[in-house]
Amino acid sequence: MYGNFDIMSKISVSLPEPGGRVSLSFEERSVWVQLISLLLVLGGYFIVAQQMVSRGVTELVVFAPVFAVAVVLMVVVTVAGHIVAALVSRPEGQDERDRLISWRAESQSGWLVATGVLAGITAMVFSVPTVWVAHLLLFSLFLSEILKLTLQLTYYRRGI
């Protein structure tokens, strides 16, 4: 293309190899923060909720304060994680690649929420206790978010 093979060989030496490791952008770090906080906090909530159910707690209102604590904790962990991420890499805002990755991951994970809602409605038809229906819906939302964030990280690493 440039008619100088010698120059091309120098270029291949002086520039990094294509496909090499890409440092994480703020947006990618943000996805990691969301995934870790979701797994730690909401995952922890489901473990606690499971223990409560196994002890015979079936009133949904008893779970409300535990869930409220989990939500507050998740906000705290997420904010702290984003502060650390901002210190490591300067926030630049989303660009077209970030948006495309987010849209594609969302479109491929939404079916989990839809499945959860349908399962919840089916459970209500069969008079399944409210506590189970509520947690079924919450769990489907949790799984959907985990899938979405995992897909985002996959697209960031493997390409889109």
């Binding site: 440039y2 660009d95 690649r97 493997r158």
Partner: protein
């Protein structure tokens, strides 16, 4: 991910005073990681970004990006 679109961005950066990915990213309005992903063939940019990259290097689009694909059924 296999892409049929190749590009000469790394070479063009070299010929433009060893322009860094960050400098190109700032001129085009994307992140450095997106320029890196384009160079590595992990992301095919929008037409707008492709034209902006060509504009930075003052080259026609086809000198920056090359398409190796074929028409369906060809």
């Amino acid at each position: 991910m296999a892409v049929a679109i190749r590009n000469q961005i790394r070479v063009l950066r070299f010929h433009h005073g060893e322009m860094t990915q960050q400098q190109l990213a700032e001129q085009v309005g994307v992140t450095r990681q997106t320029i890196n992903a384009i160079e590595a063939g992990k992301y095919s940019p929008s037409l707008e970004v492709a034209f902006l990259i060509a504009l930075v290097f003052a080259k026609p689009l086809e000198e920056v990006f090359q398409f190796d694909g074929q028409l369906p059924g060809a």
